[in-house]
């Protein structure tokens, strides 16, 4: 046994944690019928893998090895503690097969995802559970990602797990007729993980790469397990296309760059090609859903060779379609930006001002930021000044706030020069 072996095994265990966690946990939950017990058994299995693999070598199928080890622990725990069973009822598992299936391991990850994103759980609980159980993040990591204290996040996860058991939220994939609605909740959660990482709502960095990568992993899992669900393909496509621009969204000094300032030659062309292929698949056959349409919009932005070539008319048409299937005020705001490029800022301003009355956007800093930009372009500097300051007050991300400040200052400088001769 030498240091190289130890390092190699440690790497293999870490790799299996990243790749196989969801699959191992999902299969163990079905046997354990208790989320906490399953988590404990899976953690134990990973710990035991370190020693076992040092002795016997890394198995050909680490996931199967870990699943068998974790399921065996769960069965033993049930035998041992039949009398000491937790006060919570066991999970409702449709077809109970309480034996270890070392040979052909069915993929239970979909059950796990749909259980974590059950509509009877609050959105923040769905997010926390998905990151904890499907991505294998620790409570501390999730707390850090959403900037809440660790005890708060721990309480949120515990409460959600208790509700799953006590209220009888089943451990199963929804039936075909329920699927569209239930899938939408799952895709929304994955999208939220991505947006939280893509433009972090708070903190010093614009991008939190770990969250973006977890969202991409989740979207890839969903597409692999439900290859015919066009909305899942649309989600993955959208994430790939947005993330392909990751390296160009800030300059070397950390300043945020607008789409028009980004160096398109540094966009990830492989990822864009993957994304575009998925967009085509998502749009094929029947009326596209909101994730497919969003992916088409992302494709249009990314496919254009230069910013000046952007097809604003087609973008507006796509936003109109998107609004018809998903009447969200955020979509309406994005559409207004496109209108400003197509018909000028004067045409877009009333659209943005109408949205200001929507209580759902009350704390959304992109609304005053968009309004400020339109006012600046219209030469209404004093009003732009007020709107920029409103946007800065609502924005908690340091990089975005700095960007807004620089826009405010340049608007002021231009305004002063403009007002000069008449003053």
């Amino acid at each position: 046994m030498n240091a190289d072996d130890t390092a190699a095994v440690r790497l293999a265990v870490a790799d299996a944690h990243r790749r196989e966690w969801a699959r191992v946990l999902a299969a163990t939950v079905r046997v354990a019928r208790d989320l906490d017990l399953a988590e404990e058994c899976v953690q134990d299995a990973y710990v035991s893998a370190m020693d076992a693999w040092l002795g016997q070598g890394v198995p050909a199928n680490p996931g199967a090895w870990l699943t068998t080890a974790a399921q065996r622990r769960a069965l033993n725990a049930h035998k041992r503690a039949a009398t000491l069973r937790s006060k919570l009822p066991l999970l409702v598992v449709p077809e109970t097969t309480p034996e270890i299936e070392a040979e052909d391991i069915p993929d239970d990850r979909l059950r796990l995802v749909f259980t974590c994103c059950h509509p009877a759980l609050a959105r923040e609980a769905q997010l926390a559970l998905t990151l904890r159980l499907v991505c294998g993040l620790t409570t501390a990591e999730i707390a850090h990602a959403f900037l809440v204290s660790e005890p708060t996040m721990a309480a949120r996860v515990t409460r959600a797990k208790k509700k799953i058991a006590a209220a009888g939220i089943p451990y199963r994939v929804p039936s075909t007729e329920e699927l569209p609605e239930r899938l939408d909740a799952v895709l929304t959660v994955v999208h939220l993980v991505f947006t939280t990482g893509h433009a972090a709502p708070t903190g010093a960095a614009l991008v939190r790469a770990d969250l973006v990568d977890h969202a991409l992993d989740l979207a890839r899992i969903l597409c692999a397990l439900m290859p015919d669900e066009r909305e899942a393909l649309g989600l993955l496509a959208q994430l790939l296309l947005h993330d392909a621009r990751r390296a160009t969204r800030v300059d070397p000094s950390g300043r945020m760059l607008l789409l028009e300032e980004q160096d398109r030659s540094r966009w990830d062309t492989v990822q864009i090609a993957d994304g575009l292929r998925l967009v085509r698949a998502a749009l094929r056959g029947g009326r596209p859903g909101r994730f497919a349409l969003q992916s088409a919009i992302a494709a249009l932005y990314t496919e254009t060779p230069t910013y000046a070539d952007t097809d604003w008319r087609q973008l507006r048409d796509l936003y109109d379609l998107l609004l018809s299937v998903w009447p969200s005020p955020v979509v309406a705001l994005n559409r207004a930006v496109v209108v400003s490029m197509l018909d000028g800022p004067a045409a877009a301003l009333p659209l943005v001002e109408a949205l200001a009355a929507d209580p759902r956007l009350a704390a959304y800093h992109y609304l005053p930021a968009t309004r400020a930009d339109l006012l600046r372009r219209l030469g209404r500097t004093q009003e732009a000044d007020v709107a920029y300051r409103a946007a800065i007050a609502l924005c908690d991300n340091a990089v975005e706030r700095e960007f807004l400040r620089s826009r405010l200052h340049s608007a002021r400088a231009n305004g002063a020069a403009y007002a000069g001769p008449t003053a």
């Binding site: 009822p89 409702v92 059950h118 009877a120 209220a167 009888g168 939220i169 089943p170 329920e178």
Partner: protein
Amino acid sequence: MAQYLILIYEDESGYENPDPAVWQQAMDAHNRFAEQVGELGGQLLGGNALQPTATATSIRGDVVTDGPFVETKEVLGGYYLIEAKDLDQALAISKLCPAPFGGVEVRPVMVLS
């Protein structure tokens, strides 16, 4: 199988001076609901409509007061006790529970062993 209590919360004014047609509609809807529970694979174990909150008496410690325990716009006006195989089935059943002037809350019954 697990038991769930469906609590019906509604604005009482909806039933204050009901048009006989409105009343009949409500009765028909509840009769139909009783049949639908079985059709969806659940079982109806019991249920009742309650007299309005004007008839309620509350007791806290040993102080007796006239009125409901908490004053709210939508009040508990009736309940069903059902048996279902999981929350999804209980929710599918509860979605059909008539509550034109409000909505319903679904609560799992605690199992004490």
